[in-house]
């Protein structure tokens, strides 16, 4: 079963619109949602969770239509961490636990307490006195403590120091070891996504440019580094985007299948692929 199915979603806000967005996240996988600020990542998450109604198109989460009355039941199985929405600032971690225990039927207090200890979060400190990293950790602890089958994470690792970020990514990896557990994660930290994701979806100005398996993406594209003359000899359809690397050199993202077999290419990271695609799209 697919964890998430967005089908031909349109949502207009006047100057900005999500256009014909179709995205599928198979069960048991991690999908990274990538895009610039304002590309529509958070809007996509709100549409997915029925916090926003699409103008047209449909969203299904864990097999249930997000617009149906049954969807409220599905929300019990979805752990959400948002980038810019938090718990009210006077609440403490203990009080958050009590509110969540009254919210989710399958709340696990032991698991929550375990995460508070693991993340070294103070129990009696008010939320307003938490650092951004601590706020994200508390939100992650709550999202992981009610037997979720799907995690929807909007910039959940931003604000965390590299060591904690690594630990959190490992927790996300552990989460998907259960075969029906899935994650949709949006992040600006592309190296994080490259580390954990099975799929990468790229949103640009409200449109989904691609949603592909990460390994296939990395196999499809390569980085060319050479002189301007060498770059000119490449077929135009092979070049996705290019930039000057200084001293007359050129770096370009190319399709491996479209360049001569003998041409040596460097491995492109997900970050390279996204950056060159954005540059290519802007041209």
């Amino acid at each position: 079963m697919n964890a998430i199915e967005l089908s031909h979603i349109h949502k207009s806000f006047g100057s900005f619109a999500i256009q014909d967005l179709s995205l599928t996240v198979p069960g048991g996988t991690i999908c990274g949602l990538v895009g610039e600020n304002g590309a529509g990542k958070s809007t996509t998450i709100r549409l997915l969770m029925n916090a926003l109604r699409p103008d047209s198109g449909s969203a299904r989460v864990l097999g249930v239509d997000a617009a149906s009355p049954e969807f409220r039941e599905v929300k019990e199985d979805v752990g959400v961490v948002l980038d810019e929405a938090y718990f009210p600032e006077t609440l403490t971690a203990v009080q958050v636990g009590k509110v969540m225990a009254a919210t989710y039927r399958r709340w696990e207090q032991k698991t929550y307490d375990g995460f508070l200890d693991r993340f070294e979060l103070p129990r009696k400190k008010q939320f307003k006195d938490f650092s951004r990293g601590m706020k994200m950790k508390l939100a992650i602890a709550a999202a992981l403590s009610h037997q979720s089958r799907l995690l929807v994470l909007d910039e959940a690792t931003s604000g965390l120091d590299p060591i904690v970020r690594d630990e959190v990514l490992e927790i996300f990896n552990e989460f998907t070891r259960e075969e029906d557990h899935s994650i949709l994660i949006s992040s600006h930290i592309l190296s994080d996504l490259e580390k954990i994701c099975d799929y990468i979806a790229f949103l640009h100005q409200g449109r989904l440019l691609f949603c592909d398996e990460k390994d296939q993406l990395l196999e499809t594209y390569g980085l060319f580094a050479g002189t301007a003359e060498q770059a000119e000899s490449l077929r135009p359809e092979a070049v996705i985007g290019r930039e000057s690397s200084g001293f007359g050199g050129i770096r370009a993202l190319v399709r491996r299948s479209e360049v001569p077999a003998g041409l040596e290419l460097e491995r492109a990271s997900v970050e390279d692929i996204i950056l060159f695609m954005v540059k290519g799209a802007k041209k």
Binding site: A85, Y86, A102
Partner: protein, 195 residues
Amino acid sequence: MKALLLKDVYVIWKQMRLFLLVVLVMCVVNTTFNSIFLIVWCSMLPYTAMAYDDRSHWSQMAAMMPYSKKDIVLSKYVLGWLCMGAMGLISLVMQAVVGGFSGGGAGRSLVLVSLCLGAVTLAVTLPAILRFGVERGRMLFMLVIFGVAIGAGILLDTSDLHISLPLPLEVLAPLAAVAATAVSIPLSMKLYRVD
């Protein structure tokens, strides 16, 4: 709804401690205006909780959780009613302790009318505040609360006024509260939106 009420109580609890102190002082200096004002003022407590919610964008988080729109909207009414009910009880106890009324009949009727006025205030202001947020809705609220409290205080304090009502105030006020609430809740459901 229990979770939402619990959250709101945690949020306003700090402010309620200070508020209770003010209440005790005002109840000792017992006047009709104080009783009405305190109870009607309690209908403002949901807005304090909503101001904190606005600041943290809680409504966006709540939209991701298994709360229905009905739960979110109704919890604000229930919180207001609970706060006013508690205030009414405190008011009665304090009046009895300081001997503010004899026999109890007049005090109970004053509290009943005040509770109804509070419910009407909540019913009038909540739909707009759910729609526009606490910041923009606050002015409307202040106008309504002072209008209701001062108007009712004058009405009840002035024994010279002989206004002929079709029904006794103790009957009319609950009817008005029920009618206003019956209109207000569906309106709030319609107007509520996530920021």
